[in-house]
Symmetry: C2
């Protein structure tokens, strides 16, 4: 059973999975991205994965068989487990919980070699609908405090399979970065009585130097204090703290925006590895006036990162204004 442990100094929870590497060789580079031979996410290989939780599929086709266009499955190597109770406990000054949660994979297309930008609008929308459906279902489990939707694309970003997929982790605690954002948003709101993210959208629209792309419902910016070269954020223009509340027209426009940003990034940066994370409100807070859900896209370009994770002190060689200009002028 994986274990959650709380850092006694700053209160950050860490998952100790206990089941992976022990000595040097266990940490050797993750395997090269495999070819479509034997890919467990390809149609016809459904028997290689745990039974599906959700699929959007042709009428008349059967669960765990071909005929789907989006498929959600439990992760075969989950970092958290669904079975059990949290079993919160202390040992001296240290705090533990059992590693209760869910870890799912959303296979975004049957096409092994597709990039997100290659999907048609309809298919991209279906991926967003799948995120939404899975979040709504997972929220019913009251043990979960936070549901994290993210994507590791490319081996250098931590992906172990090339077939396009995202991941969802439902967890009994809120990631420290989200906590900080919520706290920062609350402080700003107390002071200004406005959402800091709404203010950023307003300010960026006025300045018009860091906007990458926009449509009716969404804006994509290179954030003012970008930590990474070509980091971008996608924000809904109308205030909302809850991703899964997004109305139908927003689903369509978000899907289009995601395709668009992927295409721009691929063109400028030659299909870089990247991580994308949906920053959403916690499960149990309800709608918040001071938090604003958004997506953070982080291409993995620099190895120079070094000590950054250890200190939270980031050095970014590319001004976001330049990144935005490059990305904007691509199409």
């Amino acid at each position: 059973m994986p274990e959650l442990r709380r850092d006694p100094i700053i209160g950050r929870w860490v998952i100790i999975t206990k089941e992976r590497g022990k000595v040097k060789k266990d940490f050797e580079k993750i395997p090269e991205i495999d070819t479509s031979d034997g890919c467990p996410f390809c149609p016809g290989k459904e028997n290689l994965t745990p039974p599906e939780i959700l699929s959007f599929r042709e009428p008349g086709t059967k669960k765990d068989e071909k005929g789907w266009w989006v498929r959600a499955i439990p992760n075969k190597f989950p970092v958290l487990r669904v079975e059990g109770t949290l079993n919160r406990r202390g040992e001296g000054m240290f705090d533990y919980m059992d590693g209760i949660g869910a870890h799912e994979v959303i296979i975004e297309t049957p096409n092994h070699n597709a990039d997100f930008s290659d999907l048609d609008n309809k298919q991209a929308e279906e991926v967003v609908w799948a995120y939404r459906d899975r979040i709504l279902d997972l929220k019913k489990d009251i043990r979960f405090e936070y549901i994290l939707v993210f994507k590791n694309h490319g081996a250098d970003a931590g992906a172990s399979l090339a077939h396009p997929h995202s991941q969802i982790i439902a967890m009994p605690t809120i990631p420290v970065r989200v906590k900080q954002e919520i706290e920062g948003g609350r402080n700003y709101f107390e002071y200004k009585e406005r959402c800091v993210f709404c203010d950023i959208i307003h300010e960026e629209t006025e300045a018009n130097t860091r906007i990458v792309s926009e449509n009716e419902d969404f804006i994509c910016i290179a954030p003012f204090a970008s930590r990474f070269p070509f980091e971008t954020w996608i924000l809904p223009k109308v205030h909302s703290s809850v991703f899964e509340d997004l109305p139908k027209h927003e689903v369509a426009n978000l899907a289009m925006m995601l395709r668009d940003i992927n295409a721009r990034m691929n063109e400028i940066l030659e299909k870089p590895p990247y991580n994308f994370v949906i920053h959403n409100a916690p499960c149990r807070t309800g709608k918040l006036p001071y938090y604003h859900w958004h997506i953070e896209m982080m291409p993995r370009l620099t190895k120079v990162a070094g000590f950054e994770w250890g200190t939270g002190f980031y050095i970014n060689p590319t001004p976001p204004e330049e990144a935005a200009k490059f990305l904007r002028e691509t199409h």
Copy 2:
């Protein structure tokens, strides 16, 4: 001039250097670690570096010539610059400062191929004395709020030169991770009237499952909520918030401890790339009863990290008890 920018949501300052990469090819892997041919950190190549700031050298030898055993120089490609004023300013809701600071390199030995664990005790002590001397000198500049001593070892940890060296960055703001630690330490102190780090040392000594090594003045543990496999922390046993206050016997024992931990890590993990960071009190706070300086060592083993930096949500496949056992049983 590099620029410091403050994230308007969580208040994290980021350095935008403006001078490095712009398009994909600029971010290609940093060059392979070079051989001693033409290494600017080797004796006899002193003319390839900016003039030295400090050196410990044979009597009678001249500045910027051979004869040194430890040498501190300005970084040829500094992320922050010494010249100028902070020029704090706002632009709409966004906050800037000029990238004022210092960025130095400490060359730890004339021997290009030495590992820290290969140095003799005397040489390792001299490196610690050099850290101390440079911190004390940089603290005189009242523009600086924090002085970060760190080491990137190996290309995968962000080192661009193989010759053993550490870096020092003096900056006009406190890294977010240090701020969190100080705040966490203060909260704990208010509640318990004890230093949380002192309590950790006490607790780890009792439990005796995560201790890697100890000597008269220092203890090395695999921390309870380790973020990374084989992460270790070195803490002084007697409370002190200020690294540069360390008495002479502690310098000797810290040097020994650093050599010892490097040797253990090298043996178990076959000379892994790693980052090490000295977590020290800020320059202007004086001695703090609730903060405790320490060193964090992070071998870079997992590529699986992926979205971790974006969320602060860490998954660690190696329980610290196991890491400590492996490291402890090495010698």
